[in-house]
């Protein structure tokens, strides 16, 4: 038996013993685990599952063991995911810390920062949020103005962030701040870690056109952030920021596939058959059917392109912009087709007159409008393709 097969058997045995029964059932939204100081566990087995996985470092399987990670190589990580998938295990932990911050701390952080933050991220003890956008700095992120003044042993932070997902629930924030007001805009930015419990930090949730959302505004009024919480070199935070955005765009591009991204998971063809009726098994209305077919064909070709990018080893570097652009535009199109197929049933806001699924689709349709804005607008992605791939002049 190969080493990898031995490993697979160990994983399988460990999971059999340690994954609690209810963690192998389909996830219900209120039992989603994000960890943190103030985590509430509706189901005590979610807490147990997190503790056991965190102890093994398998919430972050590829991070080094010395910082609490699983220390697995690429093949072993794949085996772990396959075995988790096999028993239909729920994710033990959802975490911006693991998805976005940890890779940056590994690459740009110093030894103390790694020892201080990584284990807590991996065990789900500290929950992180991302402080990037500001009211005056959306697409032009590098124009951000939240300032961090050098006060000797600490920075004094003043300003406002917006679109901070789960800021009201997070323990710490990784934020871009301006430390070099005299420098050109890209070279005066630093990457700073701030405890949300610090005096002067406050948050306010944002209601979207789709209703409640995890987004918040975050305010900093004379917040003191110790100097040791600067990641990398002062004024070189833009490099880290760009790296991190790439992770985010890759994640969002899955929105182009049915069942991926923000949405209700409903399939446009079955929705159309249900609400428009069937004619010999076909969507009864010819022009709706044509529009949906066009959409599904584009989706098929897009899915093949994601696959090809993987098969080529992801060497197309501008791929993340293309996928972000195409995927999010496609997701918007999907929900437009969905509500138009549903007719007046696609317009429900609350329960009077509409089923839960119908309301969910209306809300999802509205939520998709943000897909092509968050993580860099479609127009910004097209700029990136023009400049970096096609090498067109600026």
């Amino acid at each position: 038996m190969s080493d990898l097969e031995v490993f697979r058997q160990e994983v399988s045995e460990w999971l059999e013993e340690n994954c609690p029964p209810s963690m192998r059932t389909p996830l219900v939204p209120e039992e989603e685990v994000w960890g943190g100081r103030n985590a509430q566990y509706v189901n005590p087995e979610s807490k147990l599952w997190l503790e056991r996985m965190g102890e093994k470092g398998w919430t972050a399987p590829s991070l080094p063991t010395e910082y609490g990670g699983g220390g697995l190589d690429r093949d072993q990580t794949k085996v772990l995911h396959q075995e988790l998938y096999k028993i239909k295990a729920r994710p033990a932990l959802n975490s911006f810390g693991i998805w976005m911050l940890a890779p940056c701390i590994i690459e740009f952080g110093n030894e103390e920062q790694k020892r201080e933050h990584l284990p807590k991220i991996i065990k789900g003890e500290i929950r992180w949020c991302q402080g990037y956008s500001e009211p005056g700095s959306g697409s032009d992120l590098a124009s951000l103005s939240t300032k961090a003044e050098d006060m000797g042993d600490h920075y004094l932070v003043n300003g406002q962030k917006v679109w901070t997902s789960y800021a009201d629930k997070a323990d710490w924030i990784f934020a871009l701040v301006r430390t070099g007001p005299q420098e050109p805009k890209h070279s005066g930015i630093s990457f700073l870690l701030i405890d949300m419990a610090s005096e002067g930090v406050s948050t306010k949730p944002i209601t979207l056109i789709s209703g409640k959302s995890p987004f918040c505004e975050t305010f900093f009024d004379d917040v003191k952030a110790p100097k040791e919480n600067l990641v990398g070199v002062e004024n070189s935070g833009w490099t880290i920021a760009k790296k991190l955005l790439q992770h985010e765009r890759n994640f969002i591009s899955n929105f182009g596939l049915a069942g991926g991204g923000t949405g209700s998971g409903a399939d446009v063809v079955s929705i159309a058959k249900k609400y428009l009726g069937e004619d010999n098994g076909k969507i009864a209305h010819p022009s709706h059917r044509d529009n949906i077919t066009l959409h599904k064909m584009k989706e098929h070709a897009f899915g093949l392109t994601l696959q090809r990018s993987g098969d080529e080893g992801g060497k197309a570097s501008a791929a993340s912009s293309m996928f972000k652009y195409y995927g999010t535009e496609h997701n918007k199109d999907r929900y437009e087709l969905m509500i138009s197929s549903m007719g007046n049933k696609g317009l429900g806001w609350s329960e009077q007159g509409f089923s839960d699924d119908e309301q969910a689709i209306t809300k999802a349709w509205l939520r998709t409008k943000a897909n092509s804005i968050e993580g860099g607008t479609s127009e910004v992605q097209l700029n990136v393709i023009s400049r970096r791939v096609l090498d067109l002049p600026s």
């Binding site: 098994g281 093949l304 090809r308 652009y325 097209l382 393709i385 023009s386 067109l392 002049p393």
Partner: protein, 379 residues
């Protein structure tokens, strides 16, 4: 199924790329057109392709070919498509070979395939009878009388029909127009009595013909394989043709786009390069995305064909659809972005537009394949 090329396929692609650059740049096509060459391909260039083994890529080794598959011939067509190189590859080495290989008896394969491999004979496949591609709407008839097949009817828009040595004719031996049952394929020498072939003149200046059969009389052995059951095989052959065609169209698209992007980087107006205008940049970036999708669809379809996947029909329709939509977009934008020079005959970009619209029609437009895809998928 991995969506990458094998080493052999990449090698064929590289060889074809050098061939097209060195021997048949776009000027080669321009010269054929200006000289009024009726075949619209160059015999000596075709013989060089034969020497490289391209005529026999789909032919099994026992009949002298290399059996390299649809992916092999498609990547060659993609590269030749970049410089608009005309050749009998599609009509002879894809359609002719596949029809004979999939339908013919051993005797018939032995008789025809080696002649195709050696470059001695070219073929054409005559299917359509109306203004739009519709492979089962066939009224041409073949009836057996005293051990002879008598064919009557007409065929249109036959690729390479004006010069092919042998024409493969799809005719109805039973059933009604629209049915896939009751179809048979006959192979006829171009000089047969009762067969009148007339070349037609199309915007892309390639070789097409219509034909009329008036009591065209053929020997019993002119029937390829068995009677009445060719419908399914014809559809399969057409799918292979669609994939090869989609690949050529991808090549057309890539080159038209490349030429256009280069132009955006050299043409100045208002004192700046026009490629600095965001109105043009975003349209170029969108074309880039569609080209990437086309590459994936074509690659998936060619691999599906070579792996005998049950997804062949759906993927072939997806590839022809996506290639058609993208070439349509890029050929129009290419002209617009070139401005005045783009509508002159002196400049090559117009060739791509004219070729594009004809290529879109061949074996079904995007609308045709959209409808087919919807039916196959059960939408």
């Amino acid at each position: 199924m991995k969506l990458i090329l094998s080493e052999e396929q990449q090698f064929l692609k590289d060889t074809a790329q050098s061939f097209a650059r060195d021997k048949t740049p776009t000027n080669h096509f321009r010269k054929l057109r200006d000289d009024g060459n009726a075949k619209c391909w160059d015999d000596s260039i075709w013989q060089e392709m034969v020497q490289l083994g391209w005529s026999g890529i789909l032919v099994p080794e026992e009949f002298g070919g290399s059996d390299f598959g649809i992916a092999g011939i498609s990547v060659i067509m993609q590269e030749l498509g970049k410089t608009l190189t005309p050749s009998p590859l599609l009509a002879t080495s894809v359609l002719g070979v596949s029809t004979i290989k999939l339908l013919g008896s051993d005797e018939q394969k032995k008789n025809y395939l080696p002649k195709i491999v050696s470059g001695e004979a070219t073929t054409a496949l005559a299917v359509d009878e109306g203004n739009h591609h519709s492979p089962f709407d066939i009224e041409a008839t073949a009836t057996l009388e005293d051990d002879k097949w008598i064919l009557n009817g007409q065929k249109v828009f036959i690729i390479d029909g004006a010069s092919a040595d042998f024409i493969l004719i799809v005719a109805r031996t039973s059933g009604k127009k629209g049915e896939s049952n009751g179809l048979s394929v006959f192979i006829a020498d171009k000089n047969s009595t009762g067969l009148e072939v007339s070349q037609i003149s199309t915007a892309d200046c390639r070789n097409y013909a219509n034909l009329v059969m008036s009591n065209l009389t053929l020997n019993a052995e002119a029937l390829l394989g068995e009677v009445d059951i060719a419908g399914e095989i014809i559809e399969q052959v057409l799918d292979l043709g669609r994939i090869a065609m989609a690949s050529e169209m991808l090549g057309n698209t890539e080159e038209a786009f490349e030429i256009t992007v280069s132009y955006l980087k050299e043409r100045k107006q208002f004192g700046v390069l026009i490629g600095s205008f965001q109105a043009l940049q975003h349209r170029a970036a969108k074309m880039f995305c569609e080209i990437e999708l086309t590459k994936s669809a074509v690659l998936a379809a060619m691999h599906a064909a070579d792996e005998n996947s049950n997804e062949l029909e759906r993927l072939s329709s997806l590839a022809k659809f996506q290639a058609g939509e993208t070439l349509h977009l890029v050929s129009n934008e290419a002209i617009q972005m070139h401005g005045g020079i783009g509508v002159t005959d002196e400049y090559d970009i117009g060739f791509y537009l004219k070729r594009a619209r004809v290529a879109e029609q061949i074996f079904g437009t995007s609308e045709y394949h959209q409808a087919r895809y919807a039916d196959i998928s059960g939408f």
